[in-house]
Amino acid sequence: MDTIVSVKPLLAVMTALAGSILVMMSGRKPNIRESWSFIAAVTMFSIIASMIPTILSGKTLVYQLFKILPGLTVTFRVDAFSMIFAVVASFLWILAVFYSAGYMRGLHEHAQTRFNTCFALSLFGAIGVAFSDNLFTMYLFYEIVSVCTYPLVAHHQDEEGYQGAKKYIVYLTTTAKGMLLPAMILIYVLTGTLDFANNINTGIFTQATVDANSILVPVLYVFCIFGFAKNGIMPFHNWLPGAMVAPTPVSALLHAVAVVKVGVFCTTRVMLYVFGVDLMSALNLGVPTAYFVSFTILMASVIALSKDNLKARLAYSTISQLSYIILGVALLTPSGIEGGLVHIANHAFSKITLFFCAGAIYVASHKKTISEMSGLGRTMPFTFAAFGIASLSMIGAPPVAGFVTKWKLLVGAMEMPSHSIGILLVLLASTLLNVGYFAPITFKAFFGKRPAGEAYAGIKEAPLTMVVPIMIAALISVIIGIYPDFMMNFVKAVTG
């Protein structure tokens, strides 16, 4: 594998940090402040986009920033795997900048400078995670994301906001400190390094280490899976519904894309590049993981059915969909891994659309619950049309992005030597559940009766700064459903 030393990964990460500082310093002039966010987002995306050809030609970019101890460094690496996440997150940041300007100004929210600063800092953490070359760098940026998103969750500074934010930080730091930290130290003690392997098969453990620690290594695996609690696997998922008290742009970009994807990205990165497919097969870790996350997929869907608050329903849908990604990788078959990884992108575009819609509905009508939205689609057609498209993607219907995932996952399940039927049943059941909790929303919005005494007078479509990003995100969900190759190229490069 070719590695090139390049400063580009560092530049991409630092763009967000610099952006956050500039945003903080221009707090008194909102237009200039938002321009800094926009410039940072576009610059970051351009830098990342400029690396695409190099990565697709099979090369890897690395840059070592600090050496702390032997085998413990702050090093950036860009490979196909990191690109899947980085391209999506940096692109959606651009949309989110516009959207959140519209949302925050539309609602006359307070402390917008703090909000925008922390938003940029969260992206700094997220891209740092995407570009980390070893477990320590990943842990560093993972924790940066945790800390920098706290002010966003607590944004409203009311009782509910503080409660949600407290739950958020308690869940995330306890799991990170309690499981990830010891796992990381033990991996360092056992192997002498925390660097990721260069392919998804070998992992970093030698056969002798595994033989000598036949119990410890699976325990470390479990710690890593649960330690990254941002991945939303039950029973450590409860922070996510709690975090929904945040303003909707936060829920959209962070709790549908950046933060939760950081969780699954870390989980899958560790599964494939620390433990590796070979070791996971040898220790028979794949199938139990698949069944375990299947429980989350189904259970979260069932809970989503019971939620009337739109954002809460979307939150549980997110928990369910995140586990698809881990399920796919845990199948340990090429198609399964591809299906899981491509879902990082597919889910991102579709779920951000859904959250953007929820926010637009709130700004336009101040409605939060699904039962109040009956007939609202006729007043806000663009928003609900986008919502409908994105729901189709969540369900996995062609031609929207989610279909590609489902297809790959089904193929992956069938490639398994055993347990195919079980996984297929899970996928089938969850698809039906997805229909169950998504289809009625769009249907009622367009065809439902307006509630008695509700004329929707004065409610019209949300401002353009919100509707345009919604339409773009929805459109991309369709495009990567019809032309999946753009994302699949990265995914295929990962599985080789």
Binding site: F66, K67, I68, L69, L72, V74, F136, Y139, L140, E143, V147, A154, Q157, D158, E159, Y162, K166, I169, V170, T173, T174, K177, G178, L181, P182, I185, L186, Y188, V189
Partner: protein, 507 residues
């Protein structure tokens, strides 16, 4: 004198560094006026810091011998000498002390309003005795300086302290004195065996097991009180709460390190066999301290108490690292001693800055400062993150090394310390959340003014070290390698990947 590399610089650098503050204190007697006293003390501490810097540049990292040695016969009839020298263990501690002292003076600038000159004299005498403790290689010299530290510290708490200052200062004095008496007994016992007060000469002798155990216990009591290890910690919160800011900083950053330094310098090399015998007990005591300190800190309403109990937890990590007796653990422990000095010192300075403004240490009264003191909370946030061992900060490196050393040989004990790391995050985030955000009903903070230039100058260097050690600790680690591997060979443990104590001791 084969253990000592004599000083080859143009002047006796160790004596100069050590006695500069004392000389400054004597001159201060004749300087009238509060402002002049403050300026003079600041000047003296800065000059001391600058003079101490060449120690780092001229330090030979390849040898474990004591360097910059000075040796003068003092009381020949009893074979007592004035011997000074430093090695990789003490170099960083000395530099930390000299660099912290100007910040302590600056931190007392407005805090101390009465008897300013006397306060500065106490600080300067304190500095001389602390530096001397780290440099002394003769046991009598060491003991004199060790005891000499008590008096200025007693005065700092007892004269310039808070409402319960007399209680706190007497408690501090009695506890430490009780430990010192045992130390004196041990010193005399060793003298009777070896006929010398030279500390290096006492190392590597073939003492009987029984003798070692008694000497070890005497040492242990003295140092465990000083650290303080659970359950000898009860003097610490009282002393911290009542002490003025500079007193708390000196207490936390330097005085607590005397205990762990004692373990490294005396317990391990002089009584290695006894050390090995007691390792499991001390490790479990360390874990108890980590957990106890964490839980108690979580319950505090008083900011100074919170940080004081967090010190109990952090020092638990240090003793854990020392007594796992492998390279990573001991190096991590030494680094963590420095880290704790930087971070906890900074936190006490931060609390002092609030106290200067509100005259309260109550967490609830400091709630919701974020909007009005943005610079202050930024500093506070970074120091809190450092205290909870956030990756990229200094404490993370130390804690990582200590836990790596722990997991290498004592998996169960290290695993039991992990909840301590979670608790550190819990109490620090709790404090930070309260101070920056508060709740929905915060006291009115709109009268609070943000940090002035003097206060920024105090905190900025500490923040610099937080990130320097956190991201690139090699300059700090390199100086200790030789001394640590020599120390471990003295204990009879092959350093690195050889046979470890754990394999000998615990099935």
């Amino acid at each position: 004198m084969d253990f000592l590399i004599m000083n080859s610089m143009d002047f006796s650098i160790l004596s100069t560094v050590m006695f500069l503050p004392l000389a400054g204190a004597l001159v201060l007697l004749f300087i009238p006026g509060d402002t002049a006293a403050k300026n003079w003390a600041l000047l003296v501490t800065i000059v001391t810091a600058l003079v101490s810097l060449p120690l780092y540049w001229n330090f030979d990292i390849t040898t474990a011998q004591f360097q910059f040695g000075e040796h003068i016969s003092w009381i020949p009839s009893l074979n007592i000498n004035y011997t000074l020298g430093i090695d990789g263990i003490t170099l960083l501690l000395i530099l930390m002390t000299t660099l912290l002292m100007p910040l302590c003076v600056l931190g007392s600038w407005r805090y101390i309003e009465k008897r300013v000159r006397e306060f500065m004299i106490c600080l300067l005498i304190m500095e001389t005795s602390m530096l001397g403790v780290f440099m002394a290689l003769d046991f009598v010299l060491f003991y004199i300086l060790w005891e000499a530290m008590l008096i200025p510290m007693y005065l700092l708490i007892g004269v310039w302290g808070g409402p319960r200052k007399i209680y706190a200062s007497i408690k501090f004095f009695l506890y430490t004195l009780a430990g010192s008496v045992m130390l004196l007994v041990a010193i005399i016992a060793l003298y009777l065996k070896t006929g010398s007060f030279s500390i290096p000469a006492m190392m590597g002798q073939e003492y009987s097991s029984n003798f070692q155990i008694w000497v070890f216990l005497a040492f242990f009591l003295a140092f465990a009180i000083k650290v303080p290890m659970f359950p000898f910690h009860t003097w610490l919160p009282a002393a911290h709460v009542e002490a003025p800011t500079a007193g708390s900083v000196i207490l936390a950053s330097v005085l607590l390190k005397m205990g762990t330094y004692g373990f490294l310098r005396f317990c391990l090399p002089i009584t290695p066999e006894a050390t090995l015998t007691f390792v499991p007990y001390i490790l479990w005591l360390s874990v108890a301290g980590i957990l106890y300190g964490g839980f108690t800190a979580l319950a505090q309403q008083d900011m100074k108490k919170l940080i004081a109990y967090s010190s109990v937890g952090h020092m638990g990590f240090v003793t854990l690292g020392i007594f796992v007796l492998n390279t990573q653990g001991v190096e991590g422990a030494i680094l963590q001693m420095i880290n704790h000095g930087v971070t906890t010192g900074a936190l006490f300075l931060c609390v002092g800055m609030i106290y200067e403004r509100t005259h309260s240490r109550e967490l609830s009264k400091a709630a919701g400062l974020g909007t009005y003191m943005p610079i202050y909370v930024t500093f506070l946030a970074f120091f809190s993150l450092s205290s909870l061992a956030f990756p990229g900060t200094n404490s993370f490196v130390g804690e990582f090394l200590i836990l790596a050393g722990g997991f290498a040989d004592y998996k169960v004990i290290a695993a039991c310390a992990i909840p301590g790391a979670i608790l550190a995050a819990a109490y620090m985030f709790r404090m930070l959340q309260r101070m920056v955000w508060g709740g929905t009903q915060n006291p009115d903070q709109s009268k609070m003014v943000d940090l002035n230039m003097r206060e920024i100058v105090i905190l900025a260097p500490l923040l610099f070290f937080v990130f320097w050690i956190g991201l690139s600790p090699a300059p700090f680690m390199d100086v200790m390698h030789a001394s640590v591997s020599h120390l471990l060979s003295q204990v009879g443990v092959v350093s690195g990947d050889g046979l470890s104590v754990a394999q000998l001791m615990i099935p």
